[in-house]
Point group: C2
């Protein structure tokens, strides 16, 4: 038996407002570690297939990992998971911030929430205890007021709060969960699941010191991480994630005008360098991190933007910028703030608006449908208004809040061909025609397309990138347009790596390929914290376990191999930009999917994990 | 690209007696490391399928690894590989001793030998050079004379020599290759391949210092290995491998009377403790090893046994002892010496005699067939005479020397049901009815049943055993009789581990579970020697590569899933001993085979590795 990690899981049943503390056997932590993998363990055991994602039967899990809360930089991330109301399949979203370390200091690794409260409530967790408190006075309130009131009534302004805004309360299928007003578990509509349970917020505060097996090693590894940090080529610390905007535009892979084009003339105006020179007031950060990639921006006129809501990440810049044909960074920042205030996923929200704009352009939507908004690409005012209307579920915004498939169906007239989604979730802003491995990731991801779930092709397209992958036995760089068996192999190894990072809650800007934490360094760190004689072999099996468990979740919900696909647009030539004319070859892509299934130990036709594979992963119980 | 290992391969073509030195790209070493895996790389590329194993077209590879010759204990082992004349499939056998470190000091990692000399020759390798020398005067000579003469004519008595005896010259299909008179690459008949090439010996001498990437780490890890060594529970150093004889007999898993029974009344008389108290004169060892598990025994009367030929290992004790119903350790030692003198595999030879004894008992063989030998179980004289006759290929010995299938066919009258073999090679002396995972290993091994290719069930049947397997994510012990999916999973992981040990040339008595070298320690050591940022993930892929490449080798030769089986005897009840009545359930075993194929990424019906699996292992070139 492994030896060295004891933890607690908080179990909450909102139906009867009961609370229990579970102390799992250490073997559970060894096998699932935390994050979405631990969440899937509970979901697959306790959630009945075909449950209503917005019904009381859905289970909502907040999960850190065995290393969350320990001192190394980049461990601020955690997962929220449930059945997704946006896709109907496995829903998972990660966020950074300060919330998960605080939960660990309060004594818990994870919270498993069932049922629905018969009144608005919030959860207050501190010092190994938890209570369910009335949130009647908080319902309908924006995050800032909610946060202030909770801190005031509990008398501690260091309480960390994850909460939903009005969009979550109103069950918008693109609603997110926000902590510290600016860190979002953005995707798959989990804010609506929280809303459906009448759960406004989870407030946490703890003072427990984290115990680790080898304190000296933890300190040494944490220090080494800091000492060896160098800004990556795209200056994520200095210039934020949106530094890549101009670079992508030059490379022709900046999604523009609803993925019609790949270069955007306003790229520089909305990119990270401009942000730094104009509206940035502070570089923000997460718990214990030296990278400081987060942005805090301030705008006076014409849009008031308060730095307490942070600032737009790359995805948000692309969502409300190039995707909507808007080159006004202040407007984008406003849209970002509105999303954080209403509790909306910026990626899905921006994509929905871009989609609506294309429908408007094609005459599928008219001013009548938009309640008067002139929804041309580039119309800044209309974009901002539509964000608010989605958050408030008004008019066209109400339709869009139900998700892109629902909206496309309602619009009719061929709107579906402009809905750039997989499994019902809009595609994030990494152009698969310019990095084809990303396309494979979009197609096979159980959550729908997720830019935080698999690594992007350019990583392995250079000698330097490949050097980082040496522990995986990868020696040769492959072209970004390649989608042959060797690309699929690398994709699979990196998907497992990425799923491991998410499971452990490690931020990619502190881990290779962007940060100083080497792949083997992660093993050393897990050993130091837990005392387990683990290995990269063992930890990668956890990543593989995550992929397989999420797959099984979706199969139970009725998903099939047919759902592992890309929108037609990516099999059509790009209409503008540096890569104009580039498209994905449909046949090669099908072949890659088949190869992926085969390499995964899944049936090549149905994509169902074989019994042997499940048994090999210790997942016999899912056969 | 990896960085840190440069090596040389010696290529010999005996057809025209030409010699070349190849300096492979480092990536080749990274992917294949050495041993049978590196050998398979050459065999699969350069040996035409369906070649005559005793024809000049067969390729014979002697291979160490990237870590052979460096200071840690237990690195004295190497592989010889070729197409096997005993099975017609992949032939591989490992041996310890002093030969491979010397080859490394002489500047080479491996030797790839093709063709057939038109006269007896030997190979002389020293200081990065090699020459082919006449061996006319050595042909027909026994190992001691051969060794003495070569050392004398080359003027260096520290030359290390791997050679064949008369059995190899006469193409006995159970002939082995011997170094230092007592270390045998025993199985799969590779001595005959050497004989078929007219190659009597390979003499090596080198003074090159091994270069390592991190000398301090190599020293530290080597010292730690030594400092942390404790005798395992079966006292392999003090009492030799045959210490287990009595233990196995008590447990009912000592193969007795051609696998009819599992306990032997003479077990104590032939076991390691008796050997230590009676005929042992010295504990022998291999290069740089502190375990000293080897035996050197001396017998005066009635059989002269010289300690220069070592002493019997457990397998040999069982082969000529319990299998033949013989409880005379001196006679067993004589048989061992004869095998080393004639160059015979003790396992196959003992098994052949035991088989013949059963045929004699059943009346299938009579005194006429045996040239007068009274071949009852327990007849010591007859046993010893038959060893010599096999070595000299006389009468019944000639028939047996052609292999167990050939002999069974020739005997007729149902003899085949007494031939306890898989793929034409006799089964070594680990009773699969008492450790069913071993049975799975026998069935699927590409070389035919090999006790050095997979770990034995009791390893993982205890809490302590399982602790050693923590880096593989194995937490729970399983019963020795279990053959369900979790057992198959552990079997697969350990098969890859074992194949990795063989590939690197690491002795199991210095590596876990018997020795102090932990599974993760092996990764550290490979890193220290090569400078590669490798991992257990990466190294286990090499083990997996070995299993798959050997499989492909056999498929090319016409083997099918039907060859992955056990002799009927193991599906029948044991007739005596502690486990009397125990048998393997045929249906469960079939199911386990299917599970094994599935977990391996092979077709569940045909056992053919899928394209996806081969691509994942970087073996696309074998599809």
């Amino acid at each position: 038996m492994p030896n060295g990690y004891n933890g607690k899981i908080l179990r909450v049943d909102l139906n009867n407002e009961s609370i229990e503390v579970e102390e799992p056997q250490e073997i559970l932590y060894s096998r699932y570690l935390g994050g979405g993998t631990l969440a899937l363990y509970y979901l697959l055991r306790e959630l009945k297939p075909k449950s209503d994602p917005l019904g009381p039967e859905n289970i909502l899990v907040f999960s850190g990992s065995v290393i969350s809360g320990t001192p190394a930089a980049g461990l601020s991330r955690f997962s929220v998971a449930a059945k997704s109301p946006e896709t109907g399949g496995f829903g998972e979203a990660e966020a950074g911030g300060w919330w998960i370390p605080e939960l660990k200091f309060a004594g818990f690794d994870a919270i498993v929430i069932k049922g629905k409260a018969n009144r608005p409530v919030y959860l207050w967790i501190h010092e190994g205890q938890a209570e369910i408190r009335d949130a009647g006075h908080l319902w309908g309130k924006f995050p800032k007021e909610t946060q202030d009131e909770i801190r005031k009534e509990l008398g501690d302004d260091r309480i960390r709060i994850a909460l939903i805004g009005p969009a979550g309360e109103k069950l918008a299928k693109v609603a997110c969960i926000i902590n510290e007003l600016k860190h979002a578990n953005g995707r798959t509509g989990l804010g609506a699941v929280m809303g459906s349970k009448n759960l406004k917020a989870i407030a946490v505060r703890g003072k427990k010191r984290m115990e680790v097996a080898d304190g000296e090693a933890v300190q040494r590894l944490s220090k080494r991480l800091k000492d060896t940090y160098e800004e990556p080529y795209f200056s994520v610390g200095n210039l934020g994630t949106s530094r890549v905007t101009t670079m992508f535009s030059e490379q022709g892979i900046l999604p523009t005008l609803n993925f019609r084009e790949g270069s955007f003339e306003g790229a520089e105006a909305i990119g990270g360098e401009t942000m730094s020179k104009t509206i940035l007031v502070r570089r923000g950060t997460c718990y214990g991190c030296f990278v400081r990639c987060k942005r805090e921006v301030q705008v006076g006129k014409p849009y008031f933007v308060d730095p307490i809501y942070g600032g737009p990440e790359y995805e948000t810049v692309a969502a409300f910028g190039s995707m909507c044909g808007i080159s006004d960074l202040k407007a984008i920042s406003k849209a970002n703030q509105l999303c954080n205030i209403y509790g909306l996923d910026t990626i899905s929200t921006g994509s929905l608006i871009s989609f609506a704009m294309e429908c408007y352009k094609k005459g599928i939507l008219t001013k009548r449908d938009t309640d008067g908004l002139e929804l041309q690409f580039g119309n800044t005012e209309a974009m901002i208004k539509l964000v608010e209307r989605i958050g408030n579920r008004e008019g066209l915004g109400d339709t869009l809040a139900e998700g892109i498939c629902h909206a496309a169906k309602k619009f009719g007239k061929g709107a579906e061909s402009f809905a750039i989604h997989v499994k019902g979730m809009p595609v994030p802003f990494h152009e698969p025609r310019g990095k084809v491995g990303v396309g494979l990731g979009y197609a096979v991801s159980a959550t729908g397309p997720d830019h935080m779930e698999f690594p992007h092709d350019p990583w392995w397209a250079t000698e330097a990138g490949v050097t980082l992958l040496r522990p995986l036995g990868i020696f040769e760089p492959l072209d970004v347009f390649d989608i042959g068996p060797q690309k699929v192999r690398i994709f699979i190894y990196l998907q497992q790596y990425w799923d491991l990072l998410n499971t452990l809650g490690i931020c990619m800007f502190t881990a290779k390929p962007f940060g100083p934490q080497t792949i083997n360094g992660i093993v050393d760190y897990v050993k130091a914290v837990t005392g387990w004689e683990t290995s990269l072999f063992d930890l990668f099996k956890v990543g593989e376990r995550h992929v397989n468990m999420a797959r099984i979740f979706n199969l139970r919900e009725g998903f099939t191999a047919k759902d592992d696909t890309l929108p037609d647009r990516f099999f059509q030539p790009m209409e503008g930009g540096t890569l104009k004319g580039k498209m994905i070859d449909r046949e090669q892509f099908s072949k890659a999917l088949e190869t992926y299934y085969e390499m995964m130990g899944w049936d090549t036709e149905t994509g169902v994990p074989k019994r042997g594979k499940l048994a090999e992963l210790g997942l016999d119980w899912l056969s």
